[in-house]
Symmetry: C2
Subunit: 312 residues, 2 copies
């Protein structure tokens, strides 16, 4: 069994959801990364091929997030096997949709599967975080955890590190529009990390994130939408996304429950309560990116994926 080639899928994610900076993420049904993995004869992890990245990702197995996550899981397992990896990027890079998180999740998940599942999902998440952190310097657990686990995930730092899977209301639909422009994640983080904030914005964010979690448990989509109100990060990062205000207004005018920046942008997400709403909202957001900022964009919409990473 161990000599087979496995194909796994790990979904794109939205992190920093509304008021939940570095805390709340969710898994999208589409897009995502596909990773193929085989056990190798000798030790070490080799990246045989990467497709779909336009040559932008490193093939160095100690620097690539997918391979580093796999290396970390092998190390935990005390396993001396080696792995061969084929990574197929099927989602935009640097889009705010957790591209490196999905690759990290795929690497850790694929390694765990091909070893016969020695580890729990929680441990797979920890290896995926470690992989991403070691390769990119910054862990985004709120991307990585939902990509592995699926659903809405809450990350509480501290000892112990808590990863809590939250309920996904039945009717909820997610719309994401990815405009064809670049926002540097590092620049986006600097912009918000160098400042300090008063209780006038902190208290609303604390109330909103608490209400958002409650809304998921009771399935109150209206409350969920009202809670997508971030006074801390969004006002700063919105300045990095051409046309953001128009796109957000277009989403809300078209019936979105709430709308904010996906990850560190430039993608913008909205919540909707039906398929028809989601399509209409997505079209309005794409039109607004065109008219306000002359930007073409990709549209993704659907349910929150409750599956997360999986074998294809």
């Amino acid at each position: 069994m161990r000599s087979q080639r496995l194909r796994v899928f790990a979904p794109a994610t939205i992190a920093n959801i509304g008021p939940g900076f570095d805390v709340l993420g969710l898994a999208l049904s589409t897009p995502g990364d596909v990773l193929e993995v085989e056990l190798a004869d000798g030790p070490g992890v080799e990246i045989v091929e990467i497709t779909g990245d336009g040559g932008r990702l490193t093939r160095d197995p100690m620097k690539n997030v997918a391979s580093r996550a796999a290396v970390d899981l092998l190390r935990r397992a005390g396993d001396t096997h080696g792995l061969r990896l084929w990574l197929h990027k099927q989602m935009p890079l640097a889009s705010g949709l957790g591209s490196s998180g999905a690759s990290s999740a795929a690497g850790a998940f694929a390694a765990n599967e091909i070893l016969g599942r020695p580890f729990s999902t929680h441990d797979v998440v920890l290896s995926a975080i470690e992989g991403e952190c070691a390769a990119s310097g910054t862990p985004h657990a709120d991307n990585v955890a939902p990509s592995v686990m699926g659903g809405f995930v809450l990350v509480r730092g501290g000892e112990p590190f808590d990863i809590v899977q939250l309920p996904v209301p039945d009717g909820l639909r997610v719309v994401v529009v990815h405009p064809h422009c670049q926002v540097s994640t590092a620049a986006a983080r600097r912009l918000v990390k160098e400042r300090t904030y008063g209780l006038d914005v902190i208290v609303p964010n604390i109330g909103n994130v608490a209400a958002l979690v409650a809304a998921l448990y009771v399935g109150d989509l209206q409350l969920l939408g009202r809670s997508i109100d971030d006074r801390i990060i969004e006002p700063l990062r919105a300045t990095l996304i051409p046309g953001f205000d128009d796109v957000k207004n277009a989403a809300l005018d078209a019936g979105a429950l709430g709308c904010s920046i996906a990850g560190s942008g430039p993608s913008v997400f909205a919540f909707a309560e039906a398929d028809g709403d989601a399509q209409r909202i997505g079209a309005a957001m794409q039109a607004a990116f065109r008219s306000a900022a002359q930007l073409d964009s990709d549209l993704f919409w659907g349910k929150v994926s409750t599956e997360g990473a999986r074998v294809l």
Copy 2:
């Protein structure tokens, strides 16, 4: 029926719970305020008597929080009746246990009851907030709302203002120790409002408040305890409470799930998971106040009150 005298009870509360500054409050089983109310022949609200306050509270019906809350509810009702009130303070003032919140809650609740319940609980909360705000200048909705409604309550500011009642896990016990010293609420607010805070403390608080809400829904008392971790307010306000660090350590050493400041202090609360634990933790906290700060104290412990304000 309207000519009878009604006696109502409104419980003391803990607001600013852990990471939930101005957002999360809970109702205690004991202590609380008792308010008697009668319909008057003419218009206007009269405070006939206040007991238990050592003469510290105003009898001016437009300045006293209980009467102002009652006035606001009468106004909403378009009711031209007058009321006569007897307020019996049965809890310490300026203790961090929501004394003015309980009086406001009692005033609004009693007025609604004697008028034959024209308003929903939500509206009673709004009148109680209005009463407290008009009289003291600062609304503490996270005190007022749990005193009216009972249980754990989440207050989300914004339009509309959301008040969400959260589940109360069965086994949860609350311990509160009120040391005999004074902390000015105004000074405690100034101390935290004049500062700004970085993401290094904001993100943990956002994660903790989100996890706290999730812990209540799933009934995970250990996670609840870990989430009582406030990096923003507690470090500053702890300096106003003699012996706080020793008291907190004593609570945790005695098995408390979590421990922090009640309201703006000086009371300190802890969570426990059994009656025996709660008694032991309370005794340890009282002993620590004595040995570290030579302070006597009152101990209250029990379940979270799920009833809130009620007719006696």
